[in-house]
């Protein structure tokens, strides 16, 4: 018996996603980054305990926030470079692309990752934007659209 899979397309496929979907995806991504940071911290503690070194070199609150932000920046940039979507956006059925539909470029992905990490409040602009664009979308000419398919967007 051949397995027939139904691949559904979003009823608003290709339309710009609003702040509710993007915010939900961001929450998922924060959770993913938190898990990664916890795994890294646990691994470091484990190595220190095995080597018998002193574990008193805590980062402190500010250091932890900075390290977490750096991790988030790296995670977002890598996800957008590799697949044009983070894990949260994959779950929510969203995709980042250039305005016009082509795949996001390397520098766009990195710049977008940096702004989405350190200037997160600029996401609020998507509430009033005609195309639900955050400030970094306006600056970098990118957009986040509903896309439930697994297919890659048009090549850049």
């Amino acid at each position: 018996m051949s397995a027939v899979a139904l691949q559904e397309i979003s009823p608003r496929h290709g339309q710009p996603a609003g702040i509710v979907s993007r915010g939900a995806a961001a929450l998922v991504d924060f959770g993913v980054v938190w898990l990664i940071s916890a795994a890294i911290s646990l691994s470091v503690d484990l190595v220190q305990s095995v080597l018998g070194t002193d574990a008193s070199n805590d980062l402190g609150a500010l250091g932890a926030v900075l390290a977490g932000a750096a991790l988030l920046f790296t995670y977002l940039s890598l996800c957008w470079i590799v697949g044009g979507r983070t894990l949260g956006q994959l779950l929510l059925g969203l995709r980042v692309r250039r305005v016009g539909g082509s795949r996001i470029g390397f520098f766009q992905a990195v710049a977008r990752g940096w702004m989405a990490t350190y200037l997160l409040a600029l996401l609020l602009w998507s509430v009033v934007s005609r195309r639900s664009a955050a400030v970094w979308d306006v600056v970098l000419r990118t957009e986040v659209v509903y896309d439930w398919t697994k297919a890659e967007p048009h090549p850049k």
Partner: protein, 149 residues
């Protein structure tokens, strides 16, 4: 040499008389049995009272269950069951695969649709406040494509 009948029984000096006597006895017994009302006799037996006198618990207690089970070759019985054919007949694999797939798919789809509806509601609300045309057009019917895996 003694005379014998077809049944091989020797006929002695009183053989003929014995045969006659046996024949008479058989006829008497058959006649008695014919005249007996077996159904009537059985009907007079109080079966319930008889069963009450039987101590079932005592009988069961005498049965060595362990020894009985040891004589049963469970492995041989299980070995004769074609589990794969049984599972195939029941279609368990299909049921599990379909139910888990549908559950996962439905949960994800539910989250996607709800957040999307949230986007549309918020967007239309803001657009109305700003007195401009809505950014989200009316919903088109959902398209479904089939792909054979």
């Amino acid at each position: 040499m003694a005379d014998t009948r077809s049944a091989g029984r020797p006929i002695g000096p009183f053989g003929a008389g014995r045969a006659v006597a046996e024949n008479v006895v058989h006829q008497i017994v058959n006649g008695v049995v014919r005249e007996l009302d077996i159904d009537g006799i059985v009907a007079q037996v109080d079966v319930d009272a008889l069963l009450e006198r039987i101590d079932i618990d005592a009988i069961v207690a005498q049965v060595d269950i362990d020894a009985l089970l040891e004589r049963v070759d469970v492995d041989a019985i299980v070995g004769r069951i074609d589990l794969q054919a049984l599972v195939a007949d029941l279609g368990i694999e299909d049921i599990v695969r379909q139910s888990t797939g549908v559950l996962a798919s439905d949960s994800v789809k539910l989250v996607r649709v709800r957040t999307m509806n949230g986007d549309v509601l918020l967007g239309r609300f803001v657009d109305r406040l700003l007195r401009r045309p809505p950014r989200y057009p009316e919903l088109v019917p959902m398209a479904v494509t089939e792909t054979v895996a």
